[in-house]
């Protein structure tokens, strides 16, 4: 029974990790910006979820925070693009390795700044503990969880899972069903040709960054629905590597790969965590899986 619980928890966790990685799929997998700020952006979203709940005049229910974080994330994405990316990628005609590496440095810088800001905030006493946040967990009929076949599942996890699936479906729709999806793939390959085809390449890059940032923040808020036990800026050290692992594992640019990759990592993490009780070992297992997959299938599970 314990084992089945762990599998189910692992899958839910994995879907949520997949959502955290989905914004990275878009900006790195497709647009070729190695966004090292991605994890910090997700943490910002997690902070926002608590801030909306605790520090704003109107209390915003945690179950709505992924939506609000998405909207704020979109605005923040404009700021992110013009401060860190525009100078490097705005005029780049193809996303060569050199441009990719420059984007890595500039987003690293942005991430460090964001990390510092959140750290400063924590030190100032808006250290964000979930304990004492009564009402944070979503309750139905006075209970925060329900039981099915002897496995108890929290309602807030279900809400998180719901948002995670929506977020991943959103990238998929954007990439497959809109012409903008084509345009970002094209812009990474030859942006001058994109201009000659009647699109403003800068607009395409801005839009991609905005969407990816919105997704990162939203996913951070979703993540708080799952962990519920305190967040701090160092959460990045956990979210960022896992996001990169998931994107590479699934195959660069493959959305379905991101989802499956998330599930695999979640499962592995959940099971190892249950067996060993040590986060460090659980994290290492994810990397072992990555190495094995890359040896067998270097382009990732669903990469072309």
């Amino acid at each position: 029974m314990e084992f089945i619980s762990n599998i189910i928890y692992g899958l839910i966790y994995g879907a949520i990790l997949g959502a955290v990685a989905s914004g990275l799929t878009l900006i790195w997998g497709v647009m070729k910006v190695v966004n090292l700020a991605h994890g910090h952006l997700a943490v910002l979203g997690a902070f926002l979820a608590v801030i909306f709940y605790k520090y704003t005049p109107i209390t915003i229910d945690p179950s709505l925070s992924p939506i609000i974080a998405f909207i704020i994330g979109a605005l923040f994405g404009i700021f992110f693009y013009y401060t860190s990316l525009h100078v490097i990628v705005g005029k780049a005609e193809t996303m060569t390795l050199k441009v990719e590496m420059s984007s890595l440095l500039s987003t690293f810088g942005f991430g460090v700044a964001l990390y510092g800001l959140l750290y400063y905030g924590s030190a100032q006493g808006w250290y964000l503990q979930f304990e004492g946040l009564t009402g944070w967990t979503i309750q139905v009929g006075g209970k925060p969880y329900f039981e099915i076949l002897g496995v108890s599942i929290q309602y807030s996890w279900l809400v998180g899972l719901f948002y995670a699936v929506i977020l991943i479906a959103l990238v998929e729709l954007f990439l497959r069903k809109t012409v903008w999806g084509l345009a970002i793939r094209a812009v990474a390959q030859d942006s001058r040709a994109v201009a000659l085809t009647g699109y403003d390449p800068v607009k395409v890059k801005l839009l991609t960054t905005v969407l990816s940032t919105a997704m990162a923040l939203s996913a951070g808020a979703i993540f708080t629905l799952y962990i519920q036990n305190g967040i701090n800026p160092d959460l990045e050290h956990f979210l960022a590597p896992l996001s990169f692992v998931i994107v590479v594992l699934g195959g660069l640019g493959s959305v379905i790969g991101t989802f499956i990759g998330g599930l695999i990592i979640g499962l592995a993490y959940g099971i190892t965590m249950a067996l060993t009780g040590t986060q460090a070992i659980a994290l290492s297992v994810s990397f072992v899986i990555l190495v094995v997959i890359l040896l067998v299938k270097p382009q990732g599970l669903f990469g072309r």
Binding site: A183, R185, A186, A193, L196, T197, G198
Partner: protein
């Protein structure tokens, strides 16, 4: 005579280096106008400047009589100015059809997209057969067809081509020449053709300019130029 495109004393360059020194050129409605010259003469720079990819330093660009000198490239496309660039500049990881969809989705083409797509596939049946193939896997001739097809999906008024014959076998060059004639005769487009291949261009063009070191040195109807002693000597090798 109506002119779809008029360049008045156009100047531009890269960084500190001036490349165009007052280019005057007109593209006559419904005709093929050729811009000819040797390697490095400034032909491509003229086209990039017309499209706004290279910013004009001075002079004027008129499109259907309207001043469009400072319009950004994507806006120029949306009023009917299209350039099929040198070297095709396709997106290797996108399929044939994805190239066409991209172009057909701009506001200017949306309404007519289906109709133009059928015309394009009729013009290039090969592309229809290969519509799900990645552009990077096409042969050189097919890539040139796709570059032209992508341009046509933009519903152009002025169709500019930069050395479409470059790197193609003689037989394919002939096919491209026939295609360009069709664009004038059946599609009713105004064409500005940039070429180093003087023979091919003289065969299909109505009017031609010769550019050297960023300046137009000679112009005239093709029949006039064919008789010009300088052209005969320098370009036709007679």
């Amino acid at each position: 005579m109506t002119y779809v495109l008029e360049l008045e004393k156009l100047e531009s360059g890269y960084g500190e280096t001036q490349v165009l020194f007052g280019v005057n050129l007109k593209a006559r409605k419904g005709q093929i106008t050729a811009l000819l010259g040797s390697n490095g003469a400034g032909k491509s720079t003229t086209l990039w400047t017309i499209m706004g990819i290279v910013k004009p330093w001075g002079g004027k660009i008129l499109f259907n009589g309207e001043d469009v000198t400072m319009l950004p490239p994507y806006k120029k496309v949306n009023i009917g100015m299209t350039l099929v660039p040198e070297g095709r500049r396709l997106w290797p990881q996108l399929t044939v059809e994805e190239h066409l969809i991209m172009a057909a989705s701009i506001p200017r083409s949306k309404e007519r997209a289906q109709e133009i797509l059928e015309m394009v596939y009729q013009l290039f049946p090969r592309l229809k057969e290969r519509r799900n193939q990645l552009a990077g896997t096409l042969s050189g001739g097919e890539q040139q067809m796709l570059a032209i097809a992508r341009g046509l999906m933009l519903n152009p008024v002025l169709f500019m081509l930069d050395e479409p014959s470059l790197g193609l076998a003689p037989k394919l060059v002939q096919e491209i020449a026939e295609t360009i004639s069709k664009l004038r005769d059946e599609w009713k487009l105004t064409v500005l053709l940039v070429e180093q291949n003087i023979h091919m261009s003289m065969q299909i063009a109505d009017y031609a300019y010769i550019i050297e070191n960023g300046r137009i040195v000679l112009e005239g109807t093709v029949d006039e130029l064919k008789e010009n002693p300088m052209v005969k000597k320098a370009y036709l090798g007679l």
